[in-house]
Symmetry: C2
Subunit: 204 residues, 2 copies
DNA sequence: AAATTTCTTAAACATTTGTTTAGTTTTAAA
DNA sequence: TTTAAAACTAAACAAATGTTTAAGAAATTT
């Protein structure tokens, strides 16, 4: 791993836990064990570094669900199940990064960055939209509010992971309980959302 | 409205839109049209001001749902409907403040503030938890995952309001569309969540 | 009316911020 | 081996940060 990547890794960690404004370039340099000037040398500015961080991570979660759309060997609800599992896995593993994205999204400065982030998040939503739409057309699904159904799917998972403190309190767990990367909790969430989506989407 | 309150109002606005670290005390002073020193004079520090902001707003949303628990003239699902309407209304009207809370919650510094915030958010969750629990006990509701059902209710509404940009993109609306305080969207959200909760909670 | 407390101000304070500079070392090519 | 580009460093830069100070104005109490 070259220095550029080391810096990006430290930036993901620190931006994720302390926020963009809450992290100084010196914090990042110290964590990455490089000279402060290297950040501007490689990335030009703190803001450009942020954009690099977003791009870097975005490249990992590109178009996972596109091929699902035209898959004929899976029923619509089976596709939804797969999407749920993927989303739970992704959000649980990269919760820091997801918070970073959502935190920036909820701020009103740096509009071009907000656009970039919302585009990234949307890229994964559109195929799912299509799958639900097709499910309705085929008669497999009820005529639900597609956009808000998607919002439910993502929002449920996202909300629980807002913070470990919050998560513990919602679930009534003791201070020692660490929710992220918790296999049991992942499974519990997966099952809840699947059940929820079945009762919501499937015809009775 | 005295100067203390004017400062708090400006702080809510600016912390909400630009974040805690992204807002300087001079920004707040300028918006409130007071001298910078007044902030430290009244509140002691920027951080104390933040705590005051949280307390100030928290006092408005205290225990709205507690009286619902023992209400005998409403069916469990009717209670849920009321909760949904209240929550949609509350989140849509104070989306800035809610973002402020959730943004701070997802950061790892200022742990005592995180605790305070999660306690506030939880105060409104616990009565709902009880209502669902009683509904299950009475046989009106299916034996669902109570905590995650709550997460779905809040998460769905919250996720859509992450940002106006995001909201527009999810819903496929044009740039001019302003989601917050939009009556139609409020109604649409209310109906979606109610439908969702009925199919999820009620026995077939 | 005098005294005292409260409010308000402009200026200054010490840090911290992101960034740049000017120089050095390392690496690779000619 | 010389040369040129790339990587790296310590120091300095100006601007912005939260906070304090010391003085004055306004309000309240005595």
């Amino acid at each position: 791993m070259n220095k550029k990547e080391i810096i990006i890794q430290s930036a993901i960690k620190l931006f994720g836990t302390k926020g963009f404004e809450g992290t100084s370039v010196r914090d990042i340099a110290a964590d990455a064990q490089v000279n402060v000037a290297m950040i501007n040398y490689y990335f030009g500015s703190k803001e450009k570094l942020f954009e690099n961080v977003v791009e870097y991570r975005a490249s990992f979660l590109k178009g996972i669900f596109v091929e699902l759309i035209n898959n004929k060997s899976l029923t619509p609800i089976e596709k939804i199940d797969i999407i749920i599992d993927h989303t739970v896995e992704r959000k649980f593993s990269n919760s820091q990064f997801h918070h970073l994205l959502h935190r920036e999204l909820s701020l009103e400065h740096r509009p071009q960055l907000r656009d970039a982030i919302s585009d990234i998040l949307l890229k994964n939503m559109n195929p799912v939209k299509t799958i639900i739409k097709n499910g309705i057309k085929d008669g497999a699904f009820q005529p639900v509010d597609i956009e808000l159904t998607l919002t439910t799917l993502l929002g449920t998972i996202h909300y629980l992971l807002t913070s470990d403190t919050m998560c513990r309190k919602i679930l009534g767990k003791k201070p020692g309980f660490s929710p992220f990367q918790n296999k049991q909790l992942k499974k519990r969430m997966s099952e809840h959302v699947k059940k929820l989506m079945r009762s919501h989407l499937l015809k009775i």
